[in-house]
Symmetry: C2
Subunit: 127 residues, 2 copies
C-alpha cells in the first residue's frame, strides 16, 4: 500500500477499534509517543498509555460512525457521527501517521450546535 | 492534474479568493448549484449567487489562513485559522468537487472553546 492507502486504512481501523472498545487492537495502531489534542479545551494527552486510558475512562455510552474519510499521504481527516446516550453530535478528527504507518497525532474538534446570528435569514434555509 | 490535485488546488484557491474578497475569482470555482451547509445551526445556502452574497455580507473583519489541507479524489478537508477582529478560532471545512472540478458542496464547522469536564486532569496537560 502507498502512504495514502495506509493512512486511510489506519483511519478506518482507528474508529472501528474505538467503537468496539478493542484496546489491544487500538494500541497496535498508535505510536508510543502519540499526541492527542483537543484545541477547544487546550488539552493534550501524551503517549499511548495515557491515550488508551483516556478512552477507557471516557464516560457515557458513546458510539462512533464514520461519515467521511479524506486521506492524503500521511494525513487524514475524519467526519464522525457521535452518539452519546440520546445526544448526537458531529466530530472532526485530524490524524497524522508516522513513516511506519502508526498514528502519531490526533486532533479532535467537537463542534456544538448554536443559534444562527440574525441578519442572514434572506439567504439561508433551516434543515 | 488528477482529481486529487485538482481538488487540492480548488481548496487552496477557495481560501485565497475568500481572503482577498475576490468574488469574481471565487465565483469561477463554484458550481451553479453549490450547497453551503452549517450543521451546527442547521443552515443551508443554496446556489452560487446566494453563497457569494452570504460572504459579501458576512460581518466583521475576518481573515482566513490555511493550516492544513487534506485532498482525496473529489473530497477535501481544510483546517483554517480564522481571525475575526481580535478573536481567533479554528474552522473545519469539508469540500466536494464536481467532475468538472467545481466546488459543489461546502460544509463548515466552527468549534468554539469550552471548559474541559472534570475527572481527566490526571491524563491531560493544558497548552
Amino acid at each position: 500500500m502507498n502512504d495514502t492507502a495506509t493512512t486511510r486504512q489506519a483511519a478506518y481501523d482507528y474508529v472501528d477499534h474505538l467503537e468496539r472498545r478493542d484496546w489491544t487492537a487500538l494500541a497496535t495502531l498508535l505510536a508510543d509517543d502519540v499526541s492527542y489534542e483537543l484545541p477547544q479545551t487546550r488539552e493534550r494527552v501524551r503517549g499511548r498509555e495515557a491515550f488508551l486510558r483516556f478512552n477507557v475512562e471516557y464516560p457515557g455510552d458513546w458510539h462512533l460512525r464514520v461519515r467521511r474519510v479524506v486521506a492524503d499521504g500521511r494525513s487524514a481527516a475524519l467526519l464522525l457521527d457521535v452518539q452519546v446516550g440520546t445526544e448526537r453530535q458531529d466530530a472532526c478528527v485530524w490524524l497524522e501517521v508516522s513513516d511506519r504507518g502508526l498514528i502519531s497525532r490526533i486532533v479532535d474538534y467537537w463542534p456544538e450546535p448554536y443559534e444562527p446570528p440574525p441578519g442572514r435569514e434572506h439567504l439561508v434555509e433551516r434543515c
